[in-house]
Amino acid sequence: MYTPELGKPGAAAPVSRRGEARAFVAAVAARVAADEFIEPKDWMPEAYRRTLIRQISQHAHSEIVGMLPEGNWISRAPSLRRKAVLLAKVQDEGGHGLYLYCAAETLGASRDEMTEALLAGKAKYSTIFNYPTLTWADIGAIGWLVDGAAIMNQVPLQRTSYGPYARAMVRVCKEESFHQRQGFEIMMAMANGTPEQKEMAQDALNRWWWPSLMMFGPPDADSPNSAQGFRWRIKRDSNDDLRQKFVDITTPQAEFLGLTVPDADLRWDADRGHYDFGAIDWEEFYAVVRGEGPVAKERMEARREAWEDGAWVREAADAYEAKRQARAAA
């Protein structure tokens, strides 16, 4: 995906001549409205660039932190097959983070700064990863619900207005489908297993259901960035619409498993053609956003440890390249 090293696209912006800048902004808005893509070297409004960098880097951080809740179950997977699958899934999440960091870099963000912001605890990432994975059933529930919700959020982004972001999403969506299916397969095995296993599956659904619904973000009425996002085609569907779609699709899947969705108000509304569901505890959501999630601290400690433990590898690679260049020069 292109690179900031190809030249800073913003440099050509006629900042001093405001009228011309406005004309440029209008031209970009018209292209976006016509479903055209904006590419890295194209001129773009500063606000568009900043919003994208924020959104794409947060998305990337989410993928990277998302490796942690599942990564700690790799060594405890119940069979070699499950272990191979989980390893592949966690590796995919790392890959998704890298596609997205690349896309953010085309906008002028540096990888180094993004990594530092994450490790310093200054960057935001999806709140869902600040919940603990207590049993093996959680690995099933994450694949089924968390990846399911992620797919629903990401599918519309394949047509988002920024080319590198849209292309990264195409790859990500293709790969996520396996994640969700392997999760549902784990849930099927647990739900049809011993009574204890079924109980674990139900417990995992109880704990992951509401946080999954929160993954779609605050209600539309309280989502201040949405309007701008729609205008720039960085966002394509409203939070509430996607959440409703998720409930409609997932509820019958829970029924198939013979599990109960932990919502007393959940019922089919024939008139609306949708499921009605109960109120979401947004206080919990905002607390987790503020970093008060059950395992937020552990997550960042694990990231920092991984970064520091890998330092010798990075240094060795640098030293090797320096030696190779010195030899070539001699």
Partner: protein, 94 residues
């Protein structure tokens, strides 16, 4: 100053008979490691049979702001396309 390793653009040949196609980029201290990283990041599902990596800084690109004047000469020369020429229907195989 950024401590980032240099950026490399990654190109994958999906299968024999097709050209290499740009798929993304990786950071790596040297070309050999860039190929290894590219393999891990972009070909986990048989996406290719061959990889190229090129230092991003070595790519020279046209300026999108100049796309109009740069490509206009091609647009105005419609006689470069076969449909420009009117040939009666009775004439076959042409």
């Amino acid at each position: 100053m950024s401590k980032d390793w240099p950026l490399w653009e990654v190109f994958v040949r999906m299968r024999g008979g097709l050209s290499h196609k740009h798929v993304g980029s990786v950071h790596a201290p040297d070309g050999e490691l860039a190929v290894r990283h590219a393999r891990d990041v972009y070909t986990r599902r048989l996406e290719g049979v061959s990889l190229w990596v090129v230092k991003s800084a070595d790519i020279v690109a046209s300026d999108p702001a100049q796309a109009g004047p740069l490509f206009e000469p091609a647009e105005s020369k419609v006689y470069r396309h076969p449909t420009f020429y009117d040939i009666p229907d009775v004439v076959k195989h042409i």
